[in-house]
Each structure stands twice: as structure tokens, then as C-alpha cells.
Subunit: 404 residues, 4 copies
């Protein structure tokens, strides 16, 4: 039997971390003994845990350790991180440590070093003198020093912020369509005002459904009024926005009357063709042909954005980034420093964004399909708060609330 | 080979009836020959069809006939309806004709007689001198003269009304959540104004989700302003409405703040208990304890309503009809003469209502779950137009539109 | 400032109870101080908590107490339960204690008394000498001694059973359609075998979709082989089962070929009429007319069942209980002593069942719609484990697995 | 008033084309007069229609003409196609004709010329001497001769094939989860056998959910047994397949036990890293490291495939095509000559595929979410037949049926 001592600190109880730790150990069929447990006497004080974990084999103990590390429990006696040189391009040593999206530190040269550029599914590379950073597999170069095994890594899952919980509390209960969305509208409006006042960075991840369901004017207003500071989407959102601005339709449906327009079905192709004639959305704006809309407000404000291409694109528009490697880089750049991410009815781009986002960035996901939030959560973006609603009606109500 | 001649009249082409007739015959592996087909030269003129259908056996021909009858094609040479006495209580002769929800006539004593009380899944009973009427199986009494076989029956599926199509056209396309609901709000508001002006009868079928999602005030306003003339629901809608009126909560969630209230979880039981203390909702109103809400407005206006019980009821409230036979009678009475039915997020009561409703009553179904409309349609209520949206936001937008 | 001391015992950490307690206090804006906390050193030992809760007013403290009681924390210094006579028929004193579905005790005559007939949304009545029992509001009679306030009540939320967790672990993660259902089939098969061997009572709550999706034969087999010991459903399940047994169709669709049958649309009415001709399902069996199917196997085995009526029923069948009060009584009787409840694609009857079921009865819910499990949970039946799948395919795979 | 004469030929009635034509004219507020209508006397004969359409303005008439053309009605007196040179790169003349996915002909140099490479949302370019072909906007080069206006174009919507209807009839009714999927399994198995026998080309569009839900072995078998002749997917499907082959898990969940594996969460990154170490999937196969699975069978059989990149990709794998322009070209190449397309739980790739596919290619879409089929249809791929089911269970049942 082999035993190793672990420690954990923080709001272990109310954030559910202690429960996770003990449940994990039992599930893994290891044994434990609590060596010390000091509970925070009041709400203001963190708790401290020290416990011994016992396994039959060292392999099993290594496996349990890896899992404990990922939920915020680390070895008491830190050992120097095991570094191995990457064997090739885009290729890490076999036992590389694979990151979560939580705040992470690695024990290197006698101290815990913070890891920069936190994101999930990365490796940790130690730069000579420059500390530790997340690196995507495809950015690994031969000889890069990669952290291997999980024994010198510690992870800090986000402690639930009570003020935040209070604000978004009602949404946190469950992903249900049976909630009064007016409360969510009010809470989000309040939060957007707070973000604007405090210089936060709000990034909107937007699907074309926003235009179909009549939310384009409202979202344009939010951008113009300074509530949005980054826009992530795909070719379709821009095409639908442009079709709506040029012809008043979305996929050929007149958004004022709901009727299918004469020649309407070709309007989205005409919109692309019109932009291609100008050369780009930007030149269409400069020529005075495009005078409003989501893309117009975004470009006029100089807000960073990226339209990622996809296999289903028509066109695409000149602004669309068709190479996915470059699109991911551009997304990551827009997300740098984000303090709030709004995911508006776009599963594809929301999951893409979730992959790049540290877990401490507050994220709100609005979709009529409850499965979207479940999926985000299944893929590790468990910080996302879900609101099941009609995104067009929601955005209109939000813009109205903000203008009061 | 046996041949029988059929006729059909009306907007056979644009309502798709002719296509249905021919497709059906081919599917049934029968043969046909068009004897005469006079197409309406212009939009104003109906078309006329006469065709011979040929089968190998008389059983097959009888089966095809039954199906043809149900889609609006009937034998040219009408024969007297075959009447058989019911063998027992709640029991029809084995070959009874089972009705659709379309307008129906039966050939009796030398003439086509209209059938009264049209609804689906009924038998047709001939009353001495009093003509034909739909009767539920359970209302059949021994000796009742029941129409058997389908050879003396003709059915008129609703021809699509072009004006109507125009108004609701955009919704008819498909049941998708990717539509701009603002257009639906405007179209429905216009229709409600038209109904009120023209003395129509609008019946709302309402689920408790209307209260959870913050639509209770809006629906109360619609009732008060005279847009609703009948209310069909269950115990839960009334309990949630009362909980909201008495305590501001719905299932314990404060609808103003979205937070779970102190003691909130028991508020719905308290609401039931409070009404039980008064004796009924009505006496609670008379005592001044209940002063607003959906039930309040409904009862004050003297609008006919029925709260049908169900297996999941708490309480139930004194007003709830716990016997399903009586509840169905009461529902049918409220639906008598309805000109528009709004189904608001209640699958159970919507299907129950659909079963009783003739197919020519315009029906709009609002639900966040697209499957509800599919289900209604699968069960024969294909006249229902679906709007996939958040019912609370929808009702608020509707009430706002109506007040402009 | 008023302070009260509370205690809690059990697997407080790994069941998440301690986290719930502290989060609740903070949410309610009360203060707390941990007086004593003895953590179970190993997995086998329960933990013990003692803490002081402080509020500004006695009303607030009462409210917090009520909520603490419901999650398993009770006052250290037990006081005699406050009993008040019910003021009228179906009417409790205004401050009645409203039950949860968890195991409950009340402090009466110097000792903690267990409450019999545990279910949610009931009142607790003290019978002279006979102890405490749950009573539905409608069963309250004038003068009944009803427990008021929550200060002398303690509640034991179910501790998560680790063995169980292990078995059903994979399902517990989240309600997602992206799981391999084969594992669920195997786990459930194993559990059904265990239940049969150990003399458990398995109650199936069944929707008509089971027949539409081709699961009737499989469910019939489960009944015949002794895996099911109670059946709860509605009129529709029985009608569809009978239609399938008599005519091979479900709502007129031939389940062998998937095609719409000649005269098929009236088969469900013919099935009802045929049973009415016999007088009942049972007499149809005795006459040899009905020889297989879900209802056949159920009745032949003498398994208790109830078909609850609903507003959407056709017929109904003679066996259907159309009065909801009586149907609820019958459901409760069938559920008495249940050790496993299978909810098969029937939201209405599943919620009805959930209302009556103590929280310690293991419950598995199989539905293609993930929202059903969310709804069950929202309504207090949080013990339900959800499997998102096609119920017909699932039951066939389950029956096949059980026959291996 | 301006009048123009149109003609249409084919199974106008049973395919619903005549109804569409007349409804369209009325909706557009134009007038019509039927000049000639010869109905096919029996099922074997096509019908012939000639009608005059009258509008108030020539603009309106042009608009109506465009819409008529798209549903299979064309001008009697064909005029030479109006050709205009493209003004620039990726840019068509403003009034370009935008294609549907139906079979199309253009009247050029005195005859109707078939259009090659049919797909939706393309322009038609006339090559000197080489006839007409579809060209994507982005492939248009300055000076290309582009067909403008719709007056010299005729379109042939697919006539419903009765044999086909018969086979897939039951699925065509509606997109409902309430069907017996066993019938679909049998019908599809029969169709796959027929395709293999007759040398058809079956292309599978596959989402990673196929692996999560336990369908990987079954799909691998289908590929190995020669039922699949092209594979379209994304990076994730391959990663999940490889993770499953290397480690037995999918997103870290053991597919045999349903339990979360030790270190399982990093298995998908390890799988990518392992392939990167080899250089490619193919070299991993050659080295003997990869010996089974969907990708293995596909590559071993030499079946054409494309893995399109997306914004949410991890890795990506060396085989993944990250440039969307190239990925679309590769998809189109795989789809060339397809006779049956199976869309297996992948909305993104299914819509991408639908965009490229002519409407006469039979398409079956299997997804647990009914909204996917609605979306495909909304975007023009109305030929898709939907089956709402659990894709893993479905594929296992299909493979079992095929092995009988």
C-alpha cells in the first residue's frame, strides 16, 4: 500500500470541492484518512484540508493524483516538475500533462510558477527563464520542455463567487425553459452596465439565428452603445446581417411581414455578390452602400472581430477567415482579457470559444435549445450559465431595458 | 375487377386534395381512370373531378372507399346509409363509421344530411327525424341507429383560405424556432382585434408555464380587455396563478427577482389551502382576498372556463373538475362556437382540445418545444399553426402590441 | 440579533449536504459560526456538524430554519411540535408544515417520531397514540392535529449510495443524449435481475409511445418474465396496446411495415369498441379474444395496475379510472413498497408518480426528450436518473440483454 | 396588364407541382387562366399544363416568372438566355440567376441545354461550345458569361418516385420521435443491400456522436462490408474514433462500462499526439499501431473521405483539411455521383453537404433532435427523410440486420 499526502485550501465546502475530492477517492477505490480539516468558522474564512490517500499500486496512485490535481487538490510535498523535450513537431512526450481551463501552477525550480495563457487541452511548456505557458499541441516544437505527469501541478477550480451567484442565482438552478426570462433580462442588463462602467471586456459569440429571429437591430444597438467589445462568429452571421441591411430579408423572408419575398431566396447570394463587388464589407461602408447593422456598427467602432469559415458557408465574404488555424488564433486574440462572454444561439462557435476560455471568465449562453448548455458543460465549459429562450425576443427586451 | 365512380368538387388543386386522392389510390394499389376533370379556369372557380376506381376485390374497394371519403371524395351514386342498432351500452356495431374532424354529411332518406357536433373519433347516430349527429362511443345507447361503412358518407376537408394563409402565411412554412416572432406577435394582435370587433369567440388553452415564464399579467390583461372568451386548463394553471397573486412566486421562485423565496416551496400548497379556507376561488374574490390574475379576470368577466383534473394535481382546488368524463363535457361546452383557439404551452390540454375541435376552427399553438405542434398534427389537429417561442416573452410582447 | 444552534449528522460532505447548508445560510443573508465539525476520518464514518445561525429578526430565523430543516439540518434543542387543529374540511392551519419527499421525523411527546406515508406537499397529522403521518390537504378533517412551523421537524435527505452510484454512475453525470446507451441497458438489466432475485418491487410508469416505437413486445416480455411488479399508466397506453394486439397497428400505422393501414385510423376506436363489447379487458381475455400484450400479461400475472384517465382520452376503456382523486389513491397503493420505478416515456404520469414517491426510491427515467428529466427534477423528484434514448429501441435491447 | 404563357409537364398532380404553381400565382397577386390541362388518365401518364399568367407591371411579371421557374413551370415561348460578362473576380452581374438544387436547363443558341454540376446557390456560366455549368460565386472570373434573369431557364423539381415512397413512406409522414424505428432499420438495410448490389454510391456524413453513443463498431462494419463508399466528416469524428480504438474511451468515458476513466479526460489529446508522432493516421496503420475502427476501415478500403476542419477542433489531425475552400472542394468531389447520402447525427456537416447536393439524390438523416431535419429542409434540402432516433442504437440495429 502506498500513501501520499495532499492538501487543498479555499472555500472547500460551499464550492463543493471537498465533496468532489472525497467522492473521487472513493470512486477510484482508493482509501483516505483526513489528517487535518480546519473549517472556515464564518463565511469570510477559507478552509484547509490535509489528507492521506492510499492505493495498492503506484500506477493507481498516479492516476488518482492526476484526477485530484484537476479538482484542486495537490501533493503537500511538492517535487520538481518532470520536464521532457518534445520529440518532434506538433508532438509532445507521451506522458505530457494535459491542461484544464482552470488556473494552474507548476512547481519548477523550487517554487510554484503560474501558467500563462490558460486554456483546456494544452500542454505546459517551460521557457528558459520565462516561466510556464500553455501551448497547443500543434505549436509544440522539437526540444520544447514539456511538463510531464501531474505530480508537480496544482489547479484552482473557480470558487463560486457569492455576489455573482446572487445576481445570476436563479439561472444557476437548472437549464429549464420554465423560467421567467424577464428576470434574466434585468440581471444581464445590470451586468452589462456594470461591465461598461468598470471597463470590462464583453465578447459576443453570435449565430445567424439572431438575425432570423429579429434580434439584429437590438444587437447592433448594443454594439453602438458600447456594451460589446469583441465579436466572434462565422460567415453566415455576416451574410444574414448584410442581407437584412440591404434587402430587409433573412433567407428570403421579409423580417417586417414574415412573408417570403419575390426573388427573396437569392437575396443572400446577392448580398455576398454586392460585397464582393465592393471588395469587402469595409469598402461597402466607405462607399456609403452599407449604413447600419451588426457588422457595420462593429467595424465602425473598431471592435475586434473574427468571422470563422465553415464547411457550410456560401461565398464566403472577403472578411471571412477560411483557414481554421488562423481563425482559432484570431478568436483567441479577441478573447484575450475578456471579462464576460455572451453566447447567442451559436453552438458551433460557442464550443469553439469555450475551448479557448479560462474557466474564470463569466459566460452566459442564450439558446432556445436546452441541449446547447448541456453540451458546453459536457465539454468542460461548466462555467456557462444557460438561459433557454427565444434569442430575438430576448435581445429586443435587453436593448429596451438598457435604454430605460 | 370491380369499379366504382367517385366525384369531388372544390379547390381541388390548390388545397392539394386532388394530389391526395390520386396518391392514395396508387398507394392502395388500385387503378383509376379520370372520367372528367374540369379545372377552375381562374382562382374564383372550383374544380370538378369524376373518376373511376378499380380494385380486384370488393373488400379492397370498400377499404379504398373509406379512405377516399375521408379526404373529400365520395361515390357519385349515393346510396342510403347503412344503419345498424347499437348492440349495447357504449358499444357500436363492429363496422361503425368513425368520424374525422372535418365537415361531414351522410346520405339518408334520399338526401345528404349534415352531421351536427362534428369531432374526431365519434360515431354518427341518426335521430328519428332529427338528422345526424356525432356521438362519442361512451354516449352510445343500445338501439341507437349508427351509420355503418363509409359508402354513404362524404367529408369536406377544409380548403385553405387564402386570406388567412396570407396573414398566417409565414408561420405555415414549417415548425422552426428560427423565425422572427415579432411578426407572429403583430399578426396575432391584428387577428385578436379583428375577432373582438367581429364578435368572434377566442378560447385560450393555457399551461402553468405561462405563469412560470412571467406571462400571467399579460394574459390577465388580455382577458380583462375582452380578447379571450373561454379558458381551458387544468388545476396547475390556477394554483400557479393564485400562488403568484398571493405570494408573488411561482413554484417558490419570486417572479420579480428570480430568487428562491423563504418558505417559497410551500407557497403553492399555501395557496391551495387559502382557497380551501374560503371555500372556492369565487368566494376568495368576494371576500376581497383575491384581487387580480388570470382566474380573477376570468371569473369576474363571467367567461366560461374549465379546470380539468389530472394525475399530477396537488389539492386540487374546489373549482377543479376531477372527473374526466365531466371535464370533457365541460371543455366541449366551452369550445362550442369557438372561432379561434390559442394553445399556450400546454401539450396535455391542447391535445385534449384538439380531439374535440372541428378542423375548420383556426388554431394557433405557442410552445418552446417544436415537438408539441408535430404531436398535435400527428393526432389529427393539422389545422394548428405552430409558433416556437418563449411563451412568457411572447404574451408580454402581445399585450404590449395590443395596448399600442 | 437572534441565534439558534443546529446539528446535522451523516455523510455531510460527499453527499453535498454541508455545502448546501452553508450556501443556504449565506444566500439567506444570515450569519453562521461552526461550533463543532467532526469529519468522518474515513469513508465508513459519518460526519457531525454543530453550528450557530444568527439572524436580525425572529421571522427571518424562522424562515431560515424552515429551509435548513428541509435539507437535513435541525435544531439542536428539540422542542415539542406545535400542533393546531385543522379549521375545516380540506383545510390546514395557515402555518402548517409542508412536507418534502425525504424521510422525516417530528419531535412529539419528548421523542423524535418517524412520519409514515412520506410524500411531498403533504401536511403532518398526529394521530392520538398512533404517531405521525403524512396527509394530503384534501384528506384533512376538521380538528385533525396538524404540525405547524418547522422547528420540531427534522428531515434526512438521501445520502448518495456509493454502490448505486457506481452502477448508475455514468448516467448521473448529466442529462445528455450523447452517451452510449448500451451501457445503460446492461446496468439496468443487471439491476432488474438483482431486484427479481431479492424480491424487490419494480413499478413501471408507461406512456403510449412505448407502443408506437415498437417496445410493446419487449415490455410484455419483461412483465411475463417477472421483472415488473406494478404498472402505472393512462387510458392511451392500454388502447394502443390493444390496437396493436388486435390489428397490428398503432394509431393506424402497421408496426411491421411502418405503412398506414387501410381503415387503420379507426383501429384505436375499434379496439375500444371491441373491449366495450366484451365489457372489460379482463372479459376479453377470458373469452380468448385477447391473448397477448402488455395489458394481457399484466392482468394474467395479477400485477396491480392503474390506468388514470385524462382530458385527452378516447373511450375511455372500462378499466380506466376517470376520477382523479380515486386514480391518485390507486397509484399510491401500487407504489407502496416500490424499490425501483421505471419511467418510460410518459411525462404526465411520471410527474404524477414523482409527487407520491419518497425520495429514497431509486427511479430511472427513459425519454427521448431531455427536458422530461429536467422537469421531474424541478418538481422535486431529484432522485430520478435520466437516460435520453429511443424508448422502443431501448426496451428491445433490454429484453434481449435479459434473455441472454 | 401584361400576360405571359407558361407550360409544365410531368406528374403535376401527385407530386403537388400543380398545386404549388396555382398557389404561388395567387399569393403573388397575379391572375391566371388555364389554357389547357390534360390530366394523365392513369397513373402511368404524365399531365400537361398550359396557362396564362397576368400581372400589372413587367417587374411583377418578372418576379413571378422567377418563382414559377423554380418550381418547374417555364415560359412556353423560350427566348435566348440573356448572358452578361462577370464584372470582376468572384463577382457576377447584379441580376444573375441563382440556382436551386433541382435539375435545370437553360435556353441557349436555339435549344434547351442541361446545366452541369447542379447545386444550390450557384450562378450559371456558359462556356464557349461547352454548354452550361454551375459555378460558385467565388469561382467566377472576369468576363465569364453569366446567365441573367430567369426567363430562359427551366427547372425540374424531383417527381416523387412511388416505389421509393413506398419504401420510405412511413418516414415521410412527419419528423416525429413517435415512430417505430425497427421499420426504418429494415427499410434502410434493404436499401443498402440494393445499393451495394446495383453499384450505387453511398456517402455517409458522420458526427462524433456516433462514437459517443456506441455506434463506431457498427459503422466500421458497414464500411468493411462494402455498404459505404464515401465518408464526410470533421476532425472530431476521427479523433473520437481514434481515442476509442487506442484507449476504449470517448471523451474519457469507457464505452464498455460507461465510467469515467483514470486520465480519461486527456485520452483525446493523447490520441492526437500519438497520430502526430506517427505523422498521420495512414502511417499509424502501416506501423501496426492502429488496427480497427471507422477511419481504419475507410482508409484500408481506399474509400474517398474528407475531414473538414472547424473552429472547435483540437489538434487538428494531419488528415484534417483546415482550409474551408479546399474542404468544400473535397466534399464536392466525394459527393460526385452519390446515389444515397446518410446523414448521421452531424448538423454542421449535413447542412454543408446539403448545399452541394442535387435534389434528386436520396438522403436519409438520423438524429435524436427533430430540429435537424427541419433545419435541413429550411435550407433547401427538402429531399431529406428524417428518422428521429438514438444514432448509436440505430447503427447497431442496422449492422445486426445486415448481418442476418
Amino acid at each position: 500500500m502506498i500513501t501520499r499526502r495532499f492538501v487543498s485550501r479555499g472555500h472547500l465546502i460551499d464550492s463543493g470541492i471537498l465533496a468532489s475530492i472525497l467522492n473521487l477517492i472513493v470512486k477510484e477505490e482508493a482509501g483516505y484518512e483526513i489528517v487535518k480539516f480546519e473549517i472556515g468558522k464564518t463565511n469570510a474564512n477559507p478552509s484547509q484540508l490535509e489528507l492521506d490517500v492510499t492505493c495498492g499500486t503506484s500506477e493507481q496512485l498516479a492516476a488518482v493524483t492526476l484526477k485530484l490535481v484537476q479538482i484542486g487538490c495537490y501533493e503537500k510535498k511538492a517535487t520538481e516538475a518532470l520536464l521532457k523535450p518534445a520529440p518532434g513537431d506538433c508532438c509532445a512526450p507521451e506522458d505530457f500533462y494535459s491542461t484544464t481551463n482552470h488556473k494552474t501552477e507548476v512547481f519548477h525550480q523550487g517554487a510554484w510558477r503560474p501558467v500563462a495563457g490558460q486554456r483546456m487541452d494544452a500542454v505546459i511548456v517551460i521557457d528558459g527563464g520565462k516561466g510556464a505557458r500553455c501551448s497547443k499541441l500543434r505549436d509544440v516544437r522539437p526540444g520544447d520542455l514539456v511538463v510531464c505527469s501531474s505530480e508537480s501541478v496544482r489547479v484552482f477550480p473557480p470558487e463560486r463567487d457569492r455576489i455573482e451567484n446572487d445576481l445570476f442565482g436563479f439561472m444557476a438552478n437548472s437549464v429549464s425553459s420554465e423560467r421567467s426570462v424577464n428576470v434574466a433580462v434585468a440581471a444581464l442588463a445590470e451586468e452589462l452596465i456594470r461591465q461598461r462602467k468598470s471597463g470590462g471586456k464583453v465578447v459576443a459569440v453570435v449565430g445567424p439565428v439572431v438575425v432570423h429571429t429579429g434580434g439584429a437591430d437590438a444587437l447592433g444597438t448594443l454594439v453602438r452603445e458600447g456594451y460589446i467589445h469583441g465579436l466572434l462568429s462565422g460567415n453566415a452571421l455576416a451574410v444574414h446581417d448584410l442581407e437584412y441591411q440591404f434587402y430587409g430579408t433573412s433567407l428570403g423572408i421579409d423580417l417586417k411581414t414574415g412573408k417570403s419575398m419575390s426573388e427573396g431566396h437569392k437575396n443572400h447570394m446577392k448580398a455576398i455578390n454586392r460585397i464582393c463587388g465592393h471588395g469587402s464589407i469595409k469598402t461597402a461602408m466607405e462607399s456609403g452602400d452599407l449604413t447600419q447593422g451588426i457588422m457595420f456598427e462593429t467595424i465602425r467602432k473598431g471592435i475586434p472581430y473574427c468571422l470563422a469559415g465553415s464547411i457550410r458557408d456560401d461565398g464566403p465574404l472577403p472578411e471571412t477567415e477560411t483557414d481554421m488555424i488562423k481563425a482559432q488564433e484570431a478568436y483567441a486574440a479577441v478573447l484575450e482579457g475578456a471579462t464576460l462572454v455572451l453566447m447567442l444561439a451559436s453552438m458551433l462557435h460557442s464550443i469553439g470559444t469555450g475551448n479557448m476560455l479560462p474557466s474564470w471568465v463569466r459566460t452566459v449562453c442564450i439558446d432556445i435549445n436546452p441541449a446547447v448548455v448541456t453540451k458546453l458543460s459536457d465539454r468542460g465549459s461548466s462555467q456557462a450559465t444557460g438561459i433557454v429562450s427565444d434569442v430575438g425576443l430576448f435581445l429586443r427586451a435587453l436593448a429596451q431595458k438598457l435604454s430605460e
